[in-house]
Symmetry: none
Subunit: 214 residues, 4 copies
């Protein structure tokens, strides 16, 4: 090793991210209360004390994990939904495809599970999750539904409930993967589910081709 070269590079900027990643892993495996800071520190490759340089308390770290994971993915989708001029059916198929990707690749499922499990202990997180994830998507989607209804594409009915009809199986698929697959249950083919589900619900929602004219 050449003299003058530091033995290790200081990467304090990267640290919080590494810690959050480790914490996400441990929290989503054990739940908040059963997760040990020792484990998180070990997984992040830092000392236990170092956690406290970046996060005030365990709860703080948990909050950071949740906040960190939800923001980026959804906002873009919601924005896209709000502006898209596509026919409703195409929009849904597109959104489903995109969401399937986000879910399959990301840790959104794990975080959802955590938020559900700890919702009573961390009401603020349930609130944040609702405001930042659910409410945003719900607003965008029900807006799209209402717009489609206005255009005569979608039948009358409560737009929100339509969105729940669309989104429910998504949640089911996500939690199935988090809860049942680890204990040996056969996974749901999320793509197939969404494909069939889209067609079924769209069939039920869309004004039929000849219907408007009749």
């Amino acid at each position: 090793m050449p003299p003058g070269q530091p033995k290790w590079r200081r990467r304090s900027e990267a640290r919080p991210g590494e810690i959050i990643a480790a914490a996400l892993a441990v929290f989503s495996e054990k739940g908040f209360a059963a997760a040990r800071l020792d484990d998180i520190a070990a997984r992040a490759g830092v000392s236990k004390g170092a956690l406290y340089l970046y996060f005030e308390t365990k709860q703080d770290l948990f909050r950071a994990v949740v906040r960190e994971t939800i923001a980026p993915n959804l906002a873009t989708v919601a924005a896209f939904v709000g502006q898209s001029p596509l026919p409703f059916g195409d929009l849904i198929r597109l959104v489903f495809a995109r969401i399937a990707e986000v879910i399959t690749e990301g840790r959104l499922g794990a975080v959802a599970k955590m938020v559900i499990g700890e919702s009573r202990n961390f009401p603020e997180l349930a609130k944040v999750w609702h405001e930042d994830v659910v409410s945003v998507m719900l607003g965008a989607m029900s807006g799209a539904v209402a717009a489609a209804q206005a255009r005569g594409e979608v039948r009358p009915g409560d737009p929100q409930l339509y969105v729940f009809s669309l989104a429910g199986p998504l949640l089911l698929g996500v939690l199935w993967r988090e809860v049942f697959v680890p204990v040996g249950v056969k996974p749901i083919d999320l793509k197939a589910l969404l494909a069939q589900h889209a067609e079924v619900v769209l069939q039920g929602m869309l004004v039929e081709a000849g219907e408007g004219r009749a």
Copy 2:
């Protein structure tokens, strides 16, 4: 404690049930790890030590709570689904109505939330829940779908996925109530949701009146 008052009464028959009820309340509020046996005992009106007369460990008690709450409600519904000669649409409407009742009145939602939150720490419970609740209902329902397909009532398609389409919003509604309502979010009107959802999905699943002839 006033003299003359007995320190405790002997009521061994009722105790386990009272304890389980108290435990369900506390567990579903705090999650497994954060729940304190002190609280459960206090809520059940017994001493901490008394818990150990009926349950070996905290985990045991948790298991008992989950097992106790799942069995009774679902089996009957599943049996009914399996034997009913009703047209598929009517069957679904009936089942949805019944399930809405069970969910609204019972503690199934709270238990579901617990199972989801603690699934990694209690894989056995996830398994039991899957076998005793999910698998039973899923089997009965997809059987009904397949039968309806055989009768020409329902369009082709994977029966399981059809069931997920039907059931997803149910789960969404249940968890919404458990997770979001306690933090001030407006409740979903479960009945309205199921009513609209049933019509939407049935519209998408059922062979149309004239379709068969075409």
Copy 3:
């Protein structure tokens, strides 16, 4: 069964003895603190509450166990030693034989082990054990030694220390059986040990045939 005959005879007189026997077994297996009254009660075939009809506390029961086991055996031996007109060597051989029996058959070893292990927690028992067992035997034996010295049979020397020389291997043999045999160590042949030991020590203690005249 003839009518009028009670189904079981009440044997309250026998109870304390049965309890003590059970307690001896459990105490000598676990030590005082680790012994559970549940186990003792179960072994005695009575309820836990019944123990308190006969003994005030756990300590009381322990004391009873120790007292019960020591008294009967030793007193007779001591009395015999004090009065015997036998030559010293014959006396020792006789006493050793008798003690070997008592030890092999009785629970003296187990009690000794308990008294040793719990001596700090039950100083009174150490005291009782010393007064009722050790002191009595020591007095009788050293008296016999002194008498034999007076008769010219035994060489000069501290009679007490002579008794320790005689008794030490006995203790060793007893504890060996209690401590090492249960973990798989080869037992000591107590009879052979005492036989050889008697000859060795007597050889060292007794005035030789021609010695007195010299």
Copy 4:
């Protein structure tokens, strides 16, 4: 606590030893089960939690105490016995003198008492004690006896039993000190006991001066 005083000092090198010393004191006073970690921690001047930095469980600590105390003293004695070319009588007198010192100064007696008292609860310790202490010494000593017999110094007879004859009073003296002295019984003068005992037994074991020739 006065401000400016550090709440604790970092002394990881010395800690385990201090804890073991404290634990030996408390265990030998109370026995394993009745000893409280609170007391051990207080005596060691550390917090209860600190114990768990060095020992996994209470049992672990107990094992460490026993193991720590036995090894150093005996091995050297045994080695010495095995190689010494001294006449048997001189060897015994030397060994007795050395053992008297070790016993008087060290905590061997306390540990022996603990091992005896807890032998059923910690069979492994009885085994370790046998293997590391008893077996080693027994082997060395009976080897020396056999060698002396081969040289014509010692009379025929089972060498092991000879060793028991020699060692028994030693054990008696040690336990007397541990068990009886604390309750007010007059101590045995260990040196005097060993001195007289050595002469008595040697007299019984050694071939007499003129005996060989006769």
